[in-house]
Amino acid sequence: MPNITLSGVAKSYGGHDYAVRNLDLTIPDGAFMCLLGPSGCGKTTTLRMIAGLEQPSAGTIAVGDRILDSVEHGRYVPPEKRGMGLVFQNYALWPHLSIRENVEFGLRMRKVPGPERRARAEEALRMVHVDAAMDRYPSQLSGGQQQRVALARMLAINPEVLLLDEPLSNLDAQLRLEMRAELKRIHEESGATIVFVTHDQLEALTMATDIAVMNQGELQQLAAPMDMYDRPANRFVAEFVGSPPMAIVDTGPEPGGLAGSLLRHVAARAECVPAAVGIRPEALRFGPPPAGAWHEEATVEAVLPAGSSWTVRLRILDTDLYAVSYTPVDSAPGDTVTCWTERMHLFDADGARIAAWDEAGVAA
C-alpha cells in the first residue's frame, strides 16, 4: 500500500482567509497518523480534503501514483471512488436503516453478492462487539454502540485508508479508554493506514505512530509522539503537547527573577542567548540538586495529589509554575523547598526551538 502525499495543499473559502495554507505532508503506508491541534486549526478540513468531501483551492493530494486531487493537473476523484473509510464525529448512522443495513450499505454499493455481504457485515460487527444488536435501529443503541457501528460500517468495506474525525469526543471517559485500545488493535490487525483528527493531545500521544500538529492552517511539526514531546519544534507545540503544559519563561530585555536565574545558568554553558526558556513540569525536581544542575529556592503554594502523581504549584522568585512528581510530596503550602532541573528547552525570538539544554550539555 502506498503513501498518502499532500503537497502544497491550501484551502480558502474565498477571500484571504485560509483554513489550510500550503500544507506538505506525507502519511506513510501503515501509519497511525494523528492530526492534532486546537479547534479551527484546519485539521478537520485537511481530513475532509483527503476524503474528497472538500476540494483544495490549490495543491495536490495523491495516494502513491494515483492523483486524487490536483488543481494543477485538473484532476478530481470523487469521495465515492476513493475507497476510503471515514468515521464522523457524530457517527452519521442512517436512522432509517437497521444496524445490519447500515453496515451492508457500502458492500451493496460495491455490488458484493448477498451471502458474502451478510457474512462480511456480521464479521465487521463481531469485530466491534455489537453483533447482538444487528437488527435494531441506530436510535435504539447507546452512544458507545453507535460509535462502534460507525466503525464497523467503515471496516466492512476493508478500506486501505481509514479516516477518523474526532470519533471519541462524544464518549464518556471509560468508553474512550476502551475505544483507544480497540482502535490500536484494529490498526495492528488490519494494517490499514489511519488518519485520526483530534484536539486531545493525550489521545494523540497514546495512539499515534506519527503526529502532525497544526495551528491556524499551518503544519507546526511532524514527528513520532515521544520525539514531539521531547523535542517540540516551537513554542506552540511545546505548550500544546503535554499536560500540565510546559512552563515557558520569557527572558525579555532585562531579565530578572526566574528568567534572570535561568538565563545566567544557560549563558555559562551555551553560546546562544534564548528569548524564552521552557521547563516541562516533570523535569522540575525537588531535593538536593546534582552537580551542574540549575537550582533555586521555591515556595510551595498548593499540592494537588492525583493518586499516582502529585502536581505542585510553586512560586520561584517572581514566577508561578507547576511541577509534577511521581513520588509522594510531603511538603505543605508555605514550605520552602529546593527545586532543580537538568533539562530545559530554549526558544528564539520567533518562537522556534533552538536547543534543549540538559545534563549532557547542549543537545539538539
Binding site: S7, G8, N22, D24, L25, T26, I27, P28, A31, M33, A51, L53, Q55, A58, G59, S70, V71, E72, H73, G74, R75, Y76, P78, P79, E80, K81, R82, G83, M84, G85, L86, F88, N90, A92, L93, W94, P95, H96, F105, G106, M109, R110, R153, I157, D210, A212, L219, Q221, L222, A223, A224
Partner: protein, 608 residues
C-alpha cells in the same frame, strides 16, 4: 517515518486547469447544478410573473390604441392615469380601495374581539370545558372562508339577486339590502372565519407569558386593571400586531366572500375589482390593480417583520416559570362557557346546519318538503345549467377529480421543491445561490394569491419564446398553486434538511454511493416524514383555495371550489351549498386527521 518538507508557496495554477478541475468536481456533485436549475425555475415561476405584470401595467395593450393614442407595446402611463386619475378611477380603484380598507379594518376588529376574548377564556381562565372549547373554536378556520357567506345568503338573502330567497325572507321577514349584502355581512362572515387565527396566535402568546411577571406587579401594589394595562397588553403586543397584520393581509387577497356577498349590491373590493377587470379583458388596468395589491401585501409583511424585530426585546425568557395558573371566574364560569358555546354555534353549527338544511328542503325551514333531490335526483326541474342532484351527472365527480389531481400534483411538486431547496441551502456550496433560493421561495408569502394569479396570467397568457400560452391548461393551475404554497414548503424543507445535516449523505458518499443513490436511498427516505407533511399541508389548504384558481380556471378545468361559485352565479343556491358542504367536509376531515397524525400546528401551514 514521516517526512516534513517545507516548500515555497506554489504558483497559482493556470486558469484553464483550474476550470477543468472545477468541472470535474461539478460532474460528480450535481448540487451546484441543481442549485442553478432551481434558481432558473424559481426565477421563472416567481420573479418573471411579477416582472410581466409590471411591464403589462406600463405598456399599451392591444385594443387600447384609440383611447390612449399610442401604438400597442409602447411605454405608457395610460393605465396608471386610468386607474388613479381618470373619471372612472373612483369606480375602478378608489372606491374598491376604500371598501377593502373598511372590510379589512372591520374584519380585523371583529376577529380581534372574538378571537382575543376566546383566547383569554381558554388559556387563562377556569371556564368549564376549556380543552373542548380550545379545539372547537378553531374549526371555522378549517372550512373554506366563503362557506359562511353562502350560509349568510341562505339566511338573509332577499330577491335582489337571482336564486332562492333566504330563510328569513321566506317566512315573511323582509331583509333590507344592508343586511343581505355589502360590508356588514362581509365583515361578519370573514370575521367568523378569521377569529381562530387570532385565537391561535394570541392564545400561544398568552400561554407563554410568565404568571410571575403579573404577580410581581401585583405584589408591588398594582391593581388588576393596571396589571393588564401595563404588563399583559405590552407583552401581548407582538402577537397582537402580528395577528392584525396577517388578518389584514389575508382579507386583502380574499375573493369568495366579497364576490358572493358584495357583488349583488355592487360593493366592490380590490380583489373582486381585479377579477372584474381581467374578465373584461382590460389587462392594463388589471395589472395596475394587481401591482397595488402586491405593494400593500409587501408593505404589510414588512411592517410585521419590523414590528417583530422591535418587539424582540420583549420576548420573555424562561417558560419554566410560566405556571398554568388560571383566573377564577367564580359565578361567571358558566356564563363564560355559554358565551364560548354561542361563538361555536354561530361560527360552526349554524352555518353548517343552515347549508345542510337548505339542501334537503324545497321550501326553507319547512321539513314537510324534505327531499334529497338536490343531492341525488336524476332530473331537477328548473335548473337548466345543472339539471340533476350534485352526486348525479359528471360535473361534481369531474371537478373533484380535477381538484384531487391538480391540487395533489401541485402539493407533490411543492413538497419536493421545498426539500430540494432545503438540500441546496444546507449543502451550502454556493452561499449566493442559497440566499437567492431562500428569499425568492419566500416571496409568494408577501403576495396575496389573487394578485399572484393575475401576475401569472400576464406571463403565461401568451406564448413567450419556447413556452406556449398556458392559459386554460391544468399545467398552469398546478404551477401557480405549487408556487403560492412554496413559502411554507421551502421553510419546512430548509428546517428538515438543517436538522438532518450533511453527514448522513457524506457518509453514504464515502461508502461509495453515487448522487442518485444518495438521494434515493438516504436523503429522501430519511425525509419521508417531512415529505408527507410537506404534501398534506398544501393539499388541504389548496382544496379550499378559490382566489388563485378563480382567475385561472376555464370551463374545461373546473375545480370543486370554482364549481360551487359557478352554481352561485347561476343562482342554484341549494346546489352551490351542497358542493361547498362537500368541500367543507373533506377539508375539515383532512385537517383534523393531519393534525392528529403529524402533530402539526394549524397556524403554521394553512392558507385561507
Amino acid at each position: 517515518m514521516a517526512v516534513l518538507t517545507k516548500a515555497e508557496a506554489p504558483p497559482p495554477p493556470p486558469g484553464r486547469r483550474r476550470l477543468l478541475y472545477r468541472l470535474q468536481v461539478l460532474r460528480h456533485d450535481p448540487t451546484a447544478a441543481l442549485g442553478l436549475i432551481l434558481v432558473v425555475v424559481l426565477g421563472y415561476l416567481v420573479v418573471a410573473p411579477l416582472v410581466a405584470v409590471l411591464s403589462d401595467s406600463a405598456r399599451l395593450q392591444y385594443g387600447d390604441e384609440i383611447h390612449a393614442g399610442q401604438r400597442p407595446g409602447e411605454w405608457t402611463g395610460y393605465y396608471l392615469w386610468r386607474v388613479f386619475r381618470s373619471q372612472i378611477s373612483g369606480l375602478l380603484f378608489w372606491e374598491p380601495l376604500l371598501n377593502t380598507l373598511v372590510v379589512a379594518v372591520g374584519t380585523t376588529l371583529f376577529a380581534l374581539i372574538v378571537g382575543g376574548g376566546m383566547a383569554w377564556l381558554v388559556t387563562r381562565t377556569n371556564v368549564p370545558g376549556r380543552k373542548w372549547l380550545a379545539g372547537a373554536l378553531v374549526v371555522p378556520y378549517m372550512l373554506p372562508s366563503w362557506t359562511f357567506s353562502l350560509a349568510w345568503l341562505t339566511l338573509f338573502k332577499n330577491e335582489r339577486a337571482a336564486g332562492q330567497v333566504g330563510i328569513l325572507q321566506s317566512v315573511g321577514i323582509r331583509t333590507p339590502d344592508w343586511l343581505a349584502y355589502g360590508p356588514l355581512p362581509i365583515i361578519v362572515t370573514l370575521g367568523l372565519h378569521y377569529y381562530p387565527f387570532v385565537l391561535l396566535l394570541v392564545g400561544n402568546a398568552l400561554r407563554r407569558i410568565d404568571v410571575q411577571l403579573e404577580d410581581s406587579a401585583r405584589i408591588l401594589g398594582a391593581p388588576q386593571r393596571t396589571v393588564i394595562r401595563r404588563i399583559v397588553v405590552p407583552l401581548m403586543l407582538p402577537a397582537l400586531s402580528s395577528a392584525v397584520l396577517l388578518v389584514i393581509g389575508r382579507v386583502l387577497g380574499t375573493f369568495g366572500t366579497p364576490y358572493v356577498l358584495g357583488l349583488p349590491a355592487d360593493y366592490r373590493v380590490l380583489s373582486t375589482g381585479l377579477f372584474q377587470s381581467i374578465r373584461d379583458r382590460s389587462t392594463g388596468v388589471a395589472s395596475v390593480i394587481a401591482m397595488v395589491i402586491v405593494a400593500i401585501g409587501i408593505l404589510i409583511v414588512l411592517a410585521d417583520t419590523r414590528m417583530m424585530r422591535e418587539h424582540r426585546r420583549f420576548v420573555t425568557v424562561g417558560g419554566k416559570g410560566a405556571m398554568d395558573r388560571l383566573s377564577d371566574l367564580r359565578r361567571w364560569r358558566w356564563p363564560a362557557f355559554a358565551l364560548g358555546v354561542v361563538v361555536f354555534l354561530v361560527s360552526v353549527l349554524v352555518p353548517v346546519l343552515t347549508l345542510l338544511l337548505s339542501t334537503v328542503t324545497r321550501t326553507p325551514l319547512d321539513l314537510s318538503t324534505f327531499t334529497l333531490d338536490y343531492w341525488l335526483a336524476e332530473r331537477l326541474p328548473g335548473a337548466v345549467g345543472f339539471p340533476h342532484g350534485v352526486f348525479r351527472g359528471s360535473e361534481l365527480w369531474a371537478a373533484a377529480w380535477n381538484s384531487l389531481r391538480i391540487v395533489g400534483l401541485a402539493s407533490i411538486i411543492c413538497a419536493v421543491l421545498g426539500l430540494l431547496i432545503g438540500y441546496v441551502v444546507v449543502r451550502g456550496t454556493a452561499p449566493r445561490v442559497a440566499a437567492f433560493l431562500r428569499q425568492v421561495s419566500f416571496l409568494p408569502y408577501l403576495i396575496p394569491g389573487i394578485a399572484f394569479a393575475a401576475a401569472s396570467l400576464s406571463l403565461f397568457a401568451v406564448a413567450r419564446g419556447p413556452i406556449p400560452a398556458l392559459y386554460g391548461t391544468t399545467f398552469l393551475l398546478i404551477l401557480v398553486m405549487a408556487v403560492t404554497h412554496l413559502p411554507y414548503s421551502s421553510r419546512s424543507g430548509i428546517a428538515a434538511m438543517t436538522q438532518l445535516g450533511r453527514e448522513p449523505e457524506e457518509a453514504a458518499q464515502i461508502a461509495g454511493a453515487s448522487w442518485w443513490q444518495r438521494m434515493s436511498r438516504i436523503v429522501f427516505p430519511i425525509q419521508k416524514g417531512a415529505l408527507v407533511t410537506g404534501i398534506i399541508l398544501p393539499f388541504v389548504s389548496g382544496l379550499k383555495e378559490l382566489s388563485i384558481v378563480i382567475m385561472l380556471t376555464t370551463t374545461g378545468t373546473q375545480l370543486l371550489t370554482t364549481l360551487s361559485i359557478g352554481l352561485v352565479d347561476y343562482g342554484y343556491t341549494q346546489l352551490a351549498n351542497a358542493v361547498v358542504l362537500v368541500i367543507a367536509l373533506v377539508s375539515f376531515t383532512m385537517t383534523y386527521l393531519t393534525q392528529r397524525l403529524t402533530n402539526s400546528s394549524l397556524a403554521s401551514g394553512l392558507g385561507g
